[in-house]
Symmetry: C2
Subunit: 321 residues, 2 copies
């Protein structure tokens, strides 16, 4: 790792490369080759060791959720414009969304583009929106799909999803990546069904965190709603206890990181996509989300950068990585 | 599946929903639930069965490549602006690239955005380029990483990558998705090393296709270089036999589909990212790419939509799916 890389990985304010400071957690991860620099904050490659831990976590969540009779659905990391607009994500988190744009011009436009590139000017002015938007959370693609199928079965429904998600929030904290994976179980049904589902998974999440010998706690939380108006929505979300998070200290000298979340959406998605209950009402929904990268990082932080030297019980909980 | 979905899935020209035409391959895949509509051409969800076949293929490629001593690297489906510009992808395929853009405004800008959305007008005019570009091919992220490490070992190097890739080419052919996975082995070293690597993998690719009981052939090919000037580059690529493809008939009444490709880049990437040979020259590179979705589709086309009823030998080749 060269000096430029080290400097890049050090937060502003501690940027004196001559000072004998201990490496930050991000610097240690990069030096060990577990994460790989791409020149963009929050965009990293992963080593085989990192991916092995991620695979172990995913397999463990499959085992823990085996009794949920979940339908497995997998989507690429993007959704269509219409579903994205319907989701009202732009109302709450316009700053985080990523839209995909492409060059749609002819030979002449192409020559302009290449000339700008050559002159080190901005060449993206000709890029046009493709109608495809990066997935902001792994469960977003499933609501329109389930809504189109007609009313839910009497017992409701559980879906198992996993996807890379995009959020535009460049950061030097390794736990805040621009592209990261979420594994989720999503529950659709009556309000009672969702509340019970969330209770069950808060218990399972805590038990899993303890089995991994991590210092876990669950607390009420809120999403980072945009702008001045967003504060009111966030306060209301906290007051109604719609979001809980499983927190683990990961970053140097920072508050603990949300590594799982347990969400009750009330009838928000059910109403937007006409997801109907068996008896005719609007379905409520909730989801439990596991931040795969954040959990890998929590394990590396607390048990060290070499999984071969982790406690045996932790390795067994992850299926023997 | 509703009538709208069926109409969407039928190519223009055969769009009369009253005519008693047999379903297209895409319609059959959607009706069987193997692929799931998102409202965008070339953007589909995948069922558990589809993903099981994809996993079987990936595991098989890992087994087939076990003797390659490959370094496993995994990247999210995007790369940084600087590496993307260096790659010269914009010179050859500006029409296929996808740049990610975000809203970077304030409360006032947000109100404008929401007003446009409310009025069903274009709301993307405030989106700004984030400096992150969708990965166009799975191997793109690795060249800058390897280049920064210093000269290659004397025997060269092989890297194992897998990633979702984006290409802006909306299509009704299920084999031409906007987001799809590529698994690749990438070889970096002397020209002789790359040529031998490519020969080996053409043999292995053909043998694997035959073990899957698919009608395979390998032929020289060219990439879809942009514009009028692109034809000259494409002709040169064919003449120099830089690209071979493993072809399988998949789409109704269309030419066979490239399901694997075997590429020799000469010193293109080595020169761009200063990848050095052990003895000081510029490294040559080559890669073998497996189109995961295309191979799944080829299997479904030739052996039927229910893998439980596929020939036993084919299922065993995929590790017993």
């Amino acid at each position: 790792m060269d000096a430029h890389t080290l400097t890049e990985a050090r937060p502003a304010g501690g940027a004196d490369p001559m000072a004998a400071q201990p490496p930050t957690f991000l610097e240690s991860l990069l030096a060990a080759g577990l994460l790989i620099q791409t020149g963009v904050r929050g965009l990293y490659g992963r080593s085989a060791v990192f991916e092995g831990i991620a695979d172990g976590l995913n397999a463990a969540f499959t085992r823990i959720g085996a009794d949920q009779n979940a339908e497995v659905l997998r989507f690429p990391p993007a959704i269509g414009k219409d579903d994205f607009e319907t989701s009202e994500y732009l109302k709450s988190f316009p700053q985080l969304a990523g839209t995909i744009h492409s060059f749609c011009g002819d030979d002449r436009g192409h020559r302009q583009l290449l000339a700008r590139l050559e002159d080190k000017q901005d060449w993206t002015d000709q890029q046009q929106f493709t109608g495809v938007v990066m997935t902001p959370a792994a469960c977003y693609p499933i609501y329109p799909v389930i809504g189109k199928r007609g009313p839910l079965p009497a017992e409701g429904k559980i879906v198992d999803v996993m996807s890379y998600c995009y959020r535009h929030e460049p950061s030097l904290e390794p736990t805040r990546m621009q592209l990261f994976r979420q594994r989720e179980y999503v529950c659709l049904g009556s309000p009672e069904r969702i509340v019970a589902f969330r209770e069950l998974w808060m218990e399972r999440g805590l038990a899993f965190g303890r089995a991994l010998q991590l210092p876990v706690e669950v607390d009420v939380a809120n999403d980072p709603f945009f702008g001045r108006g967003g504060k009111i929505v966030a306060d209301s979300q906290r007051e109604l206890k719609l979001k809980f998070e499983l927190l683990i200290p990961v970053n140097d000298g920072a508050p603990p990181t949300a590594c799982m979340s347990f969400n009750y959406h009330m009838d928000h998605f059910g109403a937007l996509w006409h997801i109907g209950l068996h008896d005719g009402g609007v379905a409520h929904t909730g989801c439990v989300g596991f931040g795969i990268e954040r959990l890998v990082l929590a394990l590396l932080k607390h048990h060290g950068l070499d999984p071969a030297r982790w406690p045996q019980a932790v390795r067994e909980t992850l299926g023997g990585i």
